[in-house]
């Protein structure tokens, strides 16, 4: 599976977290600074990695990520 660009990744990220209010996300955005970053959003991200990118991540992988770029790097 080809790796997405960080821009494509952010687009997928915003779909997966399903936030109610529009929010600007950049590679440097800190996950925990997003007002709606919650357990539902985290589950959405785990599913996104699995279904869209064929990559298995677990809850601890997410806990170790600070920024969107950290998350992107999990694609390996």
């Amino acid at each position: 599976m080809p790796s997405p660009s960080i821009e494509q990744f952010i687009e997928s990220f915003l779909t997966a977290v399903d936030f109610q209010d529009p929010v600007e996300v950049t590679p440097d955005t800190e996950l925990r600074a997003l007002p709606e970053w919650d357990s539902l959003a985290a589950l959405g991200i785990i599913v996104m990695f699995d279904v869209e990118y064929g990559k298995t991540i677990v809850g601890d992988d997410l806990k170790n990520c600070n920024t969107v770029t950290d998350l992107y790097k999990l694609l390996g």
């Binding site: 399903d18 539902l40 589950l43 785990i46 279904v51």
Partner: protein, 345 residues
């Protein structure tokens, strides 16, 4: 053991029963802001759930389902050789609910009756257990009662139901194929930690604290590690389904319906997509009946397939997974079985 085959066991019928009381996740539950509730419902796929009345036990629902099923099958009470109850919400910590139901149903003293402590994965395990007793020749007709009372108004996932399934000895019955698995290293992923001998119930367990959303939480509640359960379900179930299909010599096209435990929409859709199954072959009752623990497979068959399964022959793959951790898959043919409509009690 893992993979196994049962011969001479016929699936004779099934009934499901839910409480009358309906709770809406859009109207009656936290979180406090409507748009957040809408987001929750969109992602977990559960719009409404059924809650027992305060007096009602799981066994009351299962009793009503069983009475109806026995009438439909025209089985006499004396004919029932075994009554197996799969639940984690018994009438009492002890004795077994199955033995109480032997008496309430008016079954014979020679009926084998006991409980099995399994939750969301329980249905395929129950089928295999009762089926094995029938295949051995010891039991000619048996009942499997599966379900739980696990719903609460505030928790958006769980819903209550009781179900009854009838199996009987039939030398002409097609084989049933099973794949049954357990992984106790994940026992903390879904756990009610208080009240057993590891942590006996004590005074301080009755004092609630407020969580980050301001909701009161009691220390003896069920704890669920969402990411761990999601990873377990979406990693273990697709290969288990493929393995069982291969073992049975059955292709995905041969299977009429794939019925999965109704966990939540994120989990169920991920499993369906990974297996590349068309939605019309994967019935869902999440929206209307939520997660009824071990009862989701019978509830989904009763609510979505009952008229279809009463005529012709259909091949089904059933997959239950969850607390334990534990997961089981079963492939079976259903022909000429009785499926009364969903009951309310």
């Amino acid at each position: 053991m893992g993979l196994s085959t049962l011969h001479n066991v016929r699936f004779a019928g099934m009934t499901s029963c839910v409480p009358k009381r309906v709770v809406s996740n859009l109207e009656d539950c936290p979180p406090n802001i409507r748009s957040e509730r809408q987001r929750l419902v969109r992602n977990i796929g559960i719009q409404q759930r059924r809650l027992c009345a305060s007096w009602q036990c799981f066994s009351d629902l299962a009793l009503d389902a069983t009475e109806k099923l026995l009438d439909e099958l025209q089985w006499s009470r004396e004919e029932v050789d075994a009554l197996i109850v799969v639940t984690q919400s018994p009438d009492y910590p002890i004795p077994s609910t199955a033995i109480i139901l032997q008496d309430r149903l008016g079954l014979s003293h020679s009926t084998i009756a006991f409980d099995v402590n399994l939750g969301c994965s329980g249905y395929p395990f129950g089928l295999h257990l009762l089926g094995s007793m029938i295949a051995s020749g010891a039991v000619k007709k048996g009942l499997l009662l599966v379900g739980d009372r696990s719903a609460s108004e505030k928790d958006p996932l769980f819903s209550d139901a009781g179900t009854a399934t009838a199996l009987e000895f039939d030398a002409a019955a097609p084989p049933m194929y099973f794949d049954l698995n357990s992984d106790g290293s994940g026992h903390k992923a879904i756990i009610k930690p208080v009240g057993g001998h590891r942590e006996p119930y004590a005074f301080h367990h009755s004092i609630p604290t407020r969580d980050e959303h301001g909701e009161l939480q009691w220390p003896d509640r069920l704890l669920l590690d969402g990411p761990a359960v999601l990873s377990f379900s979406t990693q273990k179930i697709p290969p288990a389904v493929e393995r069982t299909l291969q073992y049975a010599g059955v292709s995905k096209d041969d299977v009429d319906y794939f019925v999965f435990h109704q966990a939540n929409r994120m989990i169920n859709e991920t499993i369906r997509k990974k297996l590349a199954l068309p939605p019309e072959k994967v019935p869902s009752t999440l929206a209307d009946y939520g997660n009824t623990s071990g009862a989701t497979l019978p509830v989904t068959m009763s609510a979505r397939l009952n008229e279809t399964l009463e005529s012709g022959t259909h091949k089904l793959l059933l997959s239950g997974f969850g607390i334990g951790l534990s997961w089981g898959t079963c492939i079976l043919d259903i022909s000429g079985a009785r499926f009364p409509a969903m009951m309310e009690s």
